[in-house]
């Protein structure tokens, strides 16, 4: 396995978020980190992407400590899409995707044929090539997110990490983004690891799920293993009923409101 966290302690300034976190991102799979607000899932992802140096323990990429690997080299192996994205003023789609080549270029060199090819390919697989001359700030939420993913793809890495890529998007756009990531995994063999909020989306798209609470890994496994009424209650503090998705058969968690919770306890008790 190429990317793993080994007993890392993560902290912002003095505030410890995670004490002793160990997890391995499975190669060639789509993994999802999930948990309530403040559970440390985004922090864990930032550490995996070497954006947050662990206070203790280490993150290992290809057998080497990621903090000891030159950051430019890491950028050629692993791409990270942060949650908060700053779109430069009136930039075109193509120009934004070109940023993905930054780790492959030096200051004085003109772009190589390989750079151009990678940018074209990234725009093609994300279906953003036809938008290339449009300004990014004029796109729809889903299109814009596809452009950011194209930027990551242009980096030419097999590992792609994304921090809540669907937050603030309408459901149609959420599906647009997750379908694209699924397709990249299936067709291009990319390893995808992302933080998601919605457990039903996670169940639908993930091969492997990490469930986190208060900075610790509670459980991990396939969506079928992980999404049980007990886990949902324990981690999110929510009573729910887990049923198979009528079409995909994946587990679906349906949270219950107070009146229904009483009914359920009568029925089962």
């Amino acid at each position: 396995m190429r990317l793993q966290a080994q007993g890392v302690q993560l902290a912002y300034d003095q505030k410890v978020i995670a004490r002793d976190l160990t997890l391995t991102i499975p190669d060639g799979k789509v993994s999802v980190l999930i948990g309530p607000n403040g559970s440390g899932k985004s922090t864990a992802l930032r550490a995996l992407a070497r954006l947050l140096p662990p206070a203790k323990g280490s993150v290992i990429l290809d057998g080497k400590s990621i903090q000891d690997t030159p950051t430019k080299e890491v950028a050629r192996l692993l791409a990270i899409l942060p949650q908060v994205l700053v779109t430069p003023e009136s930039i075109s789609v193509e120009d934004l995707v070109w940023f993905g080549r930054h780790p492959h270029r030096t200051s004085l060199k003109v772009p190589s044929a390989a750079d151009k090819e990678a940018v074209e390919w990234a725009m093609t697989v994300t279906s953003t090539a036809e938008l290339r001359h449009q300004h990014v700030d004029q796109l729809s939420g889903g299109q814009r997110q596809r452009v950011w993913i194209a930027l990551c793809l242009a980096q030419g890495t097999d590992l792609i990490l994304l921090d809540e890529p669907t937050t603030y998007l309408d459901v149609a756009y959420q599906l647009e983004v997750l379908d694209l990531l699924h397709q990249l995994n299936q067709e291009q063999g990319k390893t995808v690891a992302m933080v998601l909020h919605d457990f039903n989306m996670a169940a639908e798209y993930a091969d492997h799920v990490f469930v986190m609470k208060s900075g610790a890994l509670v459980t991990q496994g396939t969506p079928e293993d992980v999404f049980t009424c007990d886990t949902i209650r324990d981690v999110f503090g929510v009573e729910s009923k887990v049923v198979p998705h009528p079409v995909s058969g994946k587990p679906m968690c349906i949270p219950l409101r107070a009146g229904l919770r009483a009914q359920l306890s009568v029925a089962t008790g």
């Binding site: 992407a49 070497r50 950051t71 430019k72 430069p88 003023e89 009136s90 930039i91 780790p103 200051s107």
Partner: protein, 342 residues
Amino acid sequence: MSSTTIVAQHVRRTSLAKRHPAALMGSLGVLAVVLSIYSLKVGATEVSFGNVLHALVGDRSDQAAAIVFDFQVPRVLLCWLIGTALAVSGAVMQGVIRNPLAAPDIIGVTKGAGFGGMLLLLAIPGVPVLAVVPAAFVGGLLAAGLVYLLAYRRGATPVRIALVGIAVSAAFEAGIRFLLVRKPLDVSAALIWLTGSLFGRSMSAVLEILPWVLVLVPLIVIWARKLDVLGLGDDLAAGLGEPVEKTRRLLLLFAVALAAAAVAVAGTIGFVGLIAPHMARRVFGGKHLASIPAAALFGVLLMLFADMIGRGLAPPLEIPAGLVTAVVGGPYFLYLLVKTGK
């Protein structure tokens, strides 16, 4: 209805510069050269274009030509160097701090540099002028450090940085005035440190600032893409393999050095470092590879205009160039403040 108008303007504005960016940049350059030649003629002494021509070919037998050569040529060269230094410094600061209100004078670097330079001049009388730039550099760094400590830590808003910068500026200006009262220099020197002027500057001033501009500006242009990457936010920039903190510090150091060099030779000329990068971005867009050279040209044009107006308005009286830029720049700064504060 109104939204369509905005989009249309948006597209038109960028397409002009997008279709012919080199031509537009070239015309700005030509304009600056023409203005420079014309500006050799303006001033207290009446000289003709014939005198100017003689001076330019190096004929010093003509007395008027000698005046042009000794007084006007250094001034025009200084306009180029100072305009470039201040504008590029401002462009880098706005890019690195990601704050449209950042500029050497807004964040206190200009007054800090003025204070540093003056302190050295008073402490060691007869110090070689070449040492003034490093002293100004130290003063500028001190001011930038103060602003950083007081405002920048933990996500300061653009307006907050500007406010702290103005306070720090005021403190250093008070320091400059205090030094002037304690050890009165001659009036022209006082004017230079307080408002910025090109009056009576000679070729030695040109040589003082030239190496800084010649080394740092190309270095910054080479690093233009790093500035672009920093504009994507810290996390994405770091994810793209840019050592964010290191790059940011180095670029800010370059920016402070450029501003300090400008202050060391001409005092505190305000607002050029704020306005020129804005004009450049509006016309040429956000890519630093285009907007930094464009900012330099706008800076040169602003300096040439300010100096010419200052000299030509009521000769033989001289209005310091720094005063002219303040008259134009003050309202522009207020406009930006209101726009950004919203």
